[in-house]
């Protein structure tokens, strides 16, 4: 209690406490002097002696203040006020320091928000850590069998990237959706906003004419109709009853999914049940079951399922199935990139800190006189160090506050810079965790970069500092510390710039790649009649014939074609096939999957894909003519080396009839510009559209029209969508884009990573330049006197110029050497994001070294010129 009241007294009655202390010490002084007068001293001598014996009224008072409770709080507030005042007095320094920090902290808070939102934020389902993914793709039959047999998991399945046509609600709409097992919502633990989810058995034929809508679809297409439940709507030409609406934010398995229908499980159709529509699995661990138990049971279960297939399934089918936490699986594609970017932006923060630390250090060297004065007036060295520390924390808080504001901006920039397909990106936002993260960073960096200057100030020799006037003397320790800070920060910047250089060069190489076709002046549009419309093949063929005929009539359009999949669009239309001379031994190997294009005759001409042998398709290749295919050069080379591929045969594994190879065309980079393809595809073939078949053993209903045109693509696009509506209003047309845009979009990930990395590296470079310039010009200003002496003793202007420039260059070169060494070790992290170069590409390393040397010269040039212009008389007189 006594402590508390004294704390209150100290804080609130500061003046009277101070006054009392002053009185007390003076009373002591008087008593002491009186004693001496009694002993026979003259009053003046007595007071002088007493003062000496006392050791200074102010020092004693300060020592008392130090021990008082509340003095800590008090002095912190005082320090903060004082800090703010001094910072306001040197706006240039403050601006540079606060901006450096704001850039570092803002970038980090923004990037952290993304990383947290995408990688770390728990999935929005109950007990999200119990949700798992079983790797691999499974047919309906296997899903049912696994769900029945598993003891550790409740197993559900869902299709990915399924599209559905919604008709009868204004213009026909193509929607992303998912067909799911009836237990999917139960497994996820997801509840509806309105209505109910699927019940067991509702994925059986006869009970499956139902649909669940997303909140967005309900809102936009059904005007948030409160009586939507029970209403029939037309999906892919089939009437389904709406049974539920999901709450906003629910979107599984990917963002953009707008509706869910049950699977259609029909064991009597055994080919579809076991042979088509392979799906990923999602499961929930049963109570008390562990991930290990799930992992231990899954492979044996799969080997039990293999004999159930109505055809012979390879023994090694999904033999590597693994049970992973669902969250880890959802973000596995992006986590590498995001973590690399987070490390990069972390380096930027380190650089910002080093920058501010060296600025503070330089400043504290310049403030030696002030500090010495405070020391001689009774401030203990601990007190001075604390004051400097407080000043840096104030600085860091200002930087942190501004940084947080920047983070808001950075977040939206980052979000738009990252590919829109990044899972969970849309929901990432600045929340309290990010605020906490930024604040912790601000305080930590404040402490971190406050320590060095504070230590150096605390070690100050008062008498020496005052005697030298605090101007010329700059402790070698602080100079060395500052130089190593700068060299270190240059080194970090070098690492980032080299990384950026590698990514730039890699992307440039990627854009120089010949994709095997010519994308210029091609407009594409996606036309998607429902699958049921194409049940009758002739109807679908006629639709596209008509569309192509009318498209040819659009003025400015020189050539048209259609294809089921655009190269580089990311879709993979694989068909398991048997090729002549390569019999499939069912129990031993899986059939090779061929990338299968369903194209109209002019496809190769429109995209300028060269014919190497044989012929391409003609209008004579119809549904009734003999079945033919065209293969790519690599496929021919792989399966029929040193043989004539023309006249060879192949067939989808479920077909009886063989198709004859009539032509070989040049290879096209179908999957990505780097020339990779999914591991499970083994080649490329093309079928004439009327004869075509997809993985679902049906004719592809969705096709992309390609229009080669010299005219304005926007006008052509407008005409084409009107044209589709004119032919059949129930057929949605959309995704109108140029082929160039498709190609560009295929490098979106590399591009966004490159831009983000480059902006981080650019920031780092600017910070490093400012830091180097700051240190060189500051230390040059401090050496004005020395320069004056040198000139007076006969040094030439050129000599002085070289001296200062050399200093700057030495700093940068030391940092460069360090940075290159660090890069040799670190750029390995980028290897998987690079195309066409190694992580230690000598050209990039060389170019960056040149750039940095130039920057070193630039940073030293102005201080050097100023130093060379020093007039010895002025410099010497100034002392």
């Amino acid at each position: 209690m006594a402590r508390f009241s004294s704390l209150v007294q100290n804080l609130f009655r500061k003046d009277s406490v101070e006054q009392e202390l002053d009185e007390e010490v003076r009373a002591y002084l008087n008593l002491l002097a009186e004693e001496k007068i009694k002993a026979g001293m003259s009053p003046e001598a007595a007071y002088r002696e007493a003062a000496i014996e006392l050791g200074g009224v102010e020092q004693v008072k300060e020592q008392v203040r130090e021990v008082r409770i509340g003095s800590l709080l008090e002095s912190v507030a005082q320090d903060a006020r004082f800090g703010l005042r001094t910072l306001a007095k040197s706006p240039g320094f403050t601006a540079v320091a606060v901006l450096s920090l704001a850039l570092g902290i803002g970038g980090n808070a923004g990037m952290f928000s993304i990383v947290y939102g995408v990688l770390m934020r728990p999935l929005p389902y109950p007990e999200p850590d119990r949700l798992v993914r079983v790797t691999g793709y499974y047919p309906q039959g296997a899903v049912v069998a696994l769900e029945q047999r598993s003891r550790a998991m409740d197993v559900a399945a869902h299709t990915t990237d399924s599209e559905f046509n919604l008709t009868g609600q204004g213009e026909a709409l193509r929607l992303l959706g998912s067909a799911v097992s009836a237990n999917l919502f139960t497994v996820l633990g997801a509840r509806t906003e309105m209505g109910r989810t699927f019940q067991p058995g509702e994925d059986q034929p006869g009970r499956d004419r139902i649909v669940i809508l997303s909140h967005a679809l309900w809102q936009n297409r059904f005007a948030s109709d409160p009586r939507i439940i029970g209403r029939p709507i037309a999906i892919d030409g089939l009437s389904r009853e709406v049974i539920g609406v999901m709450p906003p934010g629910f979107s599984f398995p990917s963002s953009g999914v707008r509706l869910w229908i049950p699977l259609h499980l029909d064991p009597s159709n055994s080919l579809d049940f076991w042979g088509a529509g392979y799906m990923p699995l999602v499961a929930r661990l049963r109570p008390r079951a562990t991930l290990e138990q799930a992992q231990n049971e899954i492979r044996p279960l799969i080997s039990q399922v293999i004999p159930l297939f109505p055809f012979v399934m390879a023994r090694n089918w999904n033999a590597d199935a693994t049970v992973l936490p669902l969250q880890q699986d959802l973000v596995s594609d992006v986590s590498g990139r995001l973590l690399v970017l987070l490390s990069a932006v972390g380096l930027v923060l380190l650089i910002a800190c080093a920058n501010v630390a060296s600025l503070l250090l330089a400043r504290s060297a310049g403030r030696r006189k002030e500090i010495a004065l405070r020391a001689s007036l009774g401030a203990s060295s601990g007190r001075i160090a604390r004051q400097l520390l407080t000043e840096s924390v104030v600085l860091a808080m200002a930087g942190g506050g501004l940084g947080l504001a920047l983070a808001y901006g950075a977040l939206s920039v980052l979000k738009s810079a990252l590919p829109a397909t990044t899972p969970r990106l849309a929901e990432a936002g600045i929340d309290w965790r990010v605020v906490a993260f930024a604040s912790a960073l601000a305080v930590l960096t404040g402490l971190a970069f406050g320590v060095a200057p504070a230590l150096s100030a605390a070690r100050l020799n008062v008498a020496e500092a005052i005697r030298s006037g605090g101007r010329r003397a700059t402790g070698t320790v602080s100079i060395r510390l500052r130089s190593s800070l700068i060299a270190g920060e240059v080194a970090l910047a070098v690492v980032l710039v080299i990384g950026a250089g590698l990514l730039i060069k890699s992307l440039w190489l990627l854009t120089q790649v010949d994709p095997g076709f010519r994308p210029e002046r091609i407009v594409t549009v996606r036309v998607s009649p429902s699958q049921s419309f194409c049940q009758e093949r002739a109807r679908c063929v006629a639709l596209y014939d008509e569309l192509l005929r009318r498209a040819r009539g659009i003025s400015g359009v020189s050539d048209v074609a259609a294809t089921n999949v655009l190269p580089l669009s990311g879709e993979v239309p694989g068909v398991p096939s048997e090729l002549e001379g390569h019999p499939i031994v069912p129990a031993e190997n899986l059939a090779p999957a061929l990338w299968t294009g369903a194209v109209t005759p002019d496809y190769f001409r429109v995209l300028r894909i060269p014919l190497l042998a044989g012929r391409v398709f003609t209008d004579a290749d119809t549904a009734t003519s003999s079945a033919v295919v065209v293969v790519s050069a690599a496929t021919a080379q792989r399966y029929w080396p040193r043989q004539n591929p023309i006249g060879k045969h192949l067939r989808p594994v479920w077909d009886k009839e063989w198709r004859m190879v009539v032509g070989v065309v040049a290879d096209v980079r179908q999957y990505d510009l780097a020339g990779r393809s999914p591991t499970w595809t083994n080649g490329t073939m093309y079928m004439p559209y009327p004869q075509s078949v997809g993985l679902n053993r049906q004719m592809p209903s969705t096709m992309n029209l390609l229009l080669r045109t010299a005219a304005d693509p926007v006008r052509v696009a407008g005409e084409i969508s009107g044209l589709v509506a004119g032919v059949n209003p129930d057929v949605p047309a959309g995704e109108i884009r140029t082929m160039d845009a498709v190609v560009t979009a295929s490098t979106a990930q590399s591009r966004s990573m490159m831009w983000l990395f480059v902006s981080f590296a650019g920031t780092a470079l600017i910070l490093a330049v400012v830091g180097t310039y700051g240190v060189v010009s500051y230390s040059t200003a401090q050496r004005t006197y020395e320069m004056g002496v040198r000139v007076a003793l006969g040094a030439t202007k050129g000599g002085i110029f070289g001296l200062v420039l050399g200093q700057s260059l030495r700093l940068v070169l030391a940092g460069l050497a360090l940075g290159v060494l660090a890069s040799l070790a670190l750029t390995r992290m980028l290897a998987r994001f690079l195309y066409g170069i190694t992580p230690t590409d000598p050209m990039t390393f060389l170019a960056v070294s040149g750039l940095l040397a130039a920057i070193g010269i630039l940073a030293g040039y102005f201080p050097a010129r100023r130093a060379a212009g020093v007039d010895p008389l002025t410099a010497l007189r100034a002392e």
Binding site: A2, L31, E34, V60, V64, R68
Partner: protein, 110 residues
């Protein structure tokens, strides 16, 4: 001053101040003169040590202070022991004795 020495001296100084004030209330100079006297000049307490100690002990609740008149009618701040201060004196004195006995026997043992 190295911290170890400060700590030793601080503990000792506290004990001496408590001991000095056990008889009567006193002002600062009085306390330092009395300590000189009872330690036969071995301890000379400087104001730089005395005042922080007094204030610290007042914060701790061992001492109380009030303004009064000195022998020659000068205003001065007088310190006296509180009840907690007396308890502290007992405890510190006992502690001190134990240490000095321990050190004495250690010295004899060698």
């Amino acid at each position: 001053m190295p911290p170890s020495q400060t700590n030793l001296l601080q503990g000792t100084l506290d004990l001496l101040i408590l001991k000095t004030l056990a008889l009567d209330e006193m002002h600062g100079l009085g306390i330092s003169r009395r300590i000189e006297q009872i330690t036969k000049g071995a301890f000379q307490v400087k104001p730089g040590s005395l005042f922080p100690a007094l204030h610290r002990m007042e914060e701790a609740g061992w001492l109380a202070s009030s303004w009064g008149e000195s022998e020659n009618n000068r205003r001065a701040k007088y310190y006296r022991l509180t009840r907690a201060g007396r308890r502290q004196l007992g405890a510190e004195a006992e502690n001190w004795e134990r240490i000095s006995v321990a050190i004495a026997s250690a010295l004899q043992a060698s």
